[in-house]
């Protein structure tokens, strides 16, 4: 069972804010979801290998050859604020 405090902690990790009004809904939804996953614990997986990926190609690595990068205009195309070719965040206190 996760509690309201846990939800705040999860939200902090995920950079989301949960409004007080929604808290109960999330608590209920998340607990139901977590509960529904418990069944997986009954499977015996001793000595079972992990499947990271169904495709088993060996080391599809890239050769170390330089290709052209994007132009600065393209890089910055979708940002809200930019200055001197940089992405910009306004007056942020750390």
């Amino acid at each position: 069972m996760i509690k309201k405090d846990d939800i705040y902690k999860l939200a902090e990790l995920a950079k989301l804010s949960i409004h007080e009004d929604e808290l109960e809904v999330y608590e209920e939804k998340l607990n139901r979801a977590i509960e529904s996953l418990e069944k997986i614990k009954e499977v015996n997986t001793d000595n079972v290998e992990i499947t990271y990926n169904v495709n088993q190609m060996k080391n599809p690595l890239r050769e170390d050859i330089v290709r052209e990068s994007l132009s600065q205009n393209e890089v910055l195309k979708n940002t809200v604020e930019e200055q001197y070719g940089y992405f910009k965040i306004l007056k942020v206190m750390d």
């Binding site: 990926n53 088993q56 690595l61 050859i65 132009s71 007056k91 942020v92």
Partner: protein, 476 residues
Amino acid sequence: MRYKTIIGLEIHVELMTKTKIFCSCTNEFGGEVNTHCCPVCLGLPGAMPILNKAVLEYAMKAGIAFNCNIARNTKMDRKNYFYSDLVKGYQISQDDIPLCEGGYIEIESKEGPKKVHLNRIHIEEDTGKSVHTEDGDTLLDYNRAGVPLIEIVSKPEMNSAEEARLFLEKLRATLKYIEVSDCKMEEGSLRCDININIVDMETGNKTNITEIKNLNSFRAAVKAIEHEEKRHIDLLKEGKNSEKETRRWDEVQGETIIMRQKGGAADYRFAVDGDILPIEISEEWIEEIKNSLPELPHDKKQRFIREYGLTEYDAEVLTQSRDIALFYEDTVKHIDDPKLVSNWIMGDVLRRLNDEDLEVDSLKFDSKALADLIKLVKDEKINNNTGKKVLRDMFETGKDPNSIVKEKGLIQISDQGELSSIVDKVLDDNQQSIEDYKNGKDRAVGYLMGQIMKATRGKANPQLVNKMLVEKLESR
């Protein structure tokens, strides 16, 4: 010793591959902002990472050089955290199966050789850089995002700032030797974090570990360790303890300053990156990498002692960096006198480089020029003091020593006849000194030598003159 210092180091090193770790953008340092970027290293939606083969090879080289075990099967994981210079909200790194495990770096500590063991070396991507403007805005440049890094984690086995310095120097020298990184701290291609605490050997009390960041040089690391050692010991003496915290070294204040408290362990929610298939490393590949490695510093040092008859100390100094060793060997090729060459390089050349914090590759003259200079001295064409003056000139102008000697007319006067008449003239002019000599005042010889050197503008062959002077004094 009542208080024992315990130091562990975490070192991030940028690899000097041609391209970034997961895309084909250039891995060159600098460049106009946000021009070494593509959908992959910008973390644009839909873009997929493709691991650079050279990154594995460079990291394996480091692992082999530091005696690590290389994993036969490994994978890439996501380390999840938010920061503005991190484009995907996670860094692709390695969690439970690092590429290299174990290993050690051997240092020459005061008590003799000491092995400092490593936990691991893993590969990961670097982040972008942020700049803060005077207005308080943050500007972001992602040219560095996706630059390949290795993170080297030592065990907490160093017990003094000096040992940490030796460890770092050995580490840097080795990585430069095997050409996996240029290790330029000023460009951020070598970054070091320190974990330090103190044990009171009498009571068994330990201080909490402090992490120190923002170290821009090995010198800063040494000063920071010394500062923290004292701070921790003072706390222990007062019956207090240090906080679990991250501090930053302030070069100007000469002290460490708190950055943040360390709460519980950070929750990075590691999970495998599903876009990168598991990595398999064959015996053959490891063998191939082993064979491609150049001679390592330790082996080179032993060879220098054997081949050139150098002392342990001289060989150690000359093999500190691959460039110095190379410069030494090249010079010896031009003038077959290993001991003499060692004296010149260890003395005047390295002293000057150290004074000015320069590397061998910034010298304006080459090994051939240095050999020519040593030859001039060895053949007694110029005397030792003049040799040093010529070397200074070479440092400034990069001119060839023969031309300097010629232009300035510095060739030593060894002609018996010429010297004889100069000595006679000086004696004639200094009757008082002759008398002093007769009265047993040895100082007179020194004075007369000085007068002769003055008359020849330092060019007289000092051995010849000395011999001649004494003979002539006796016969007068």
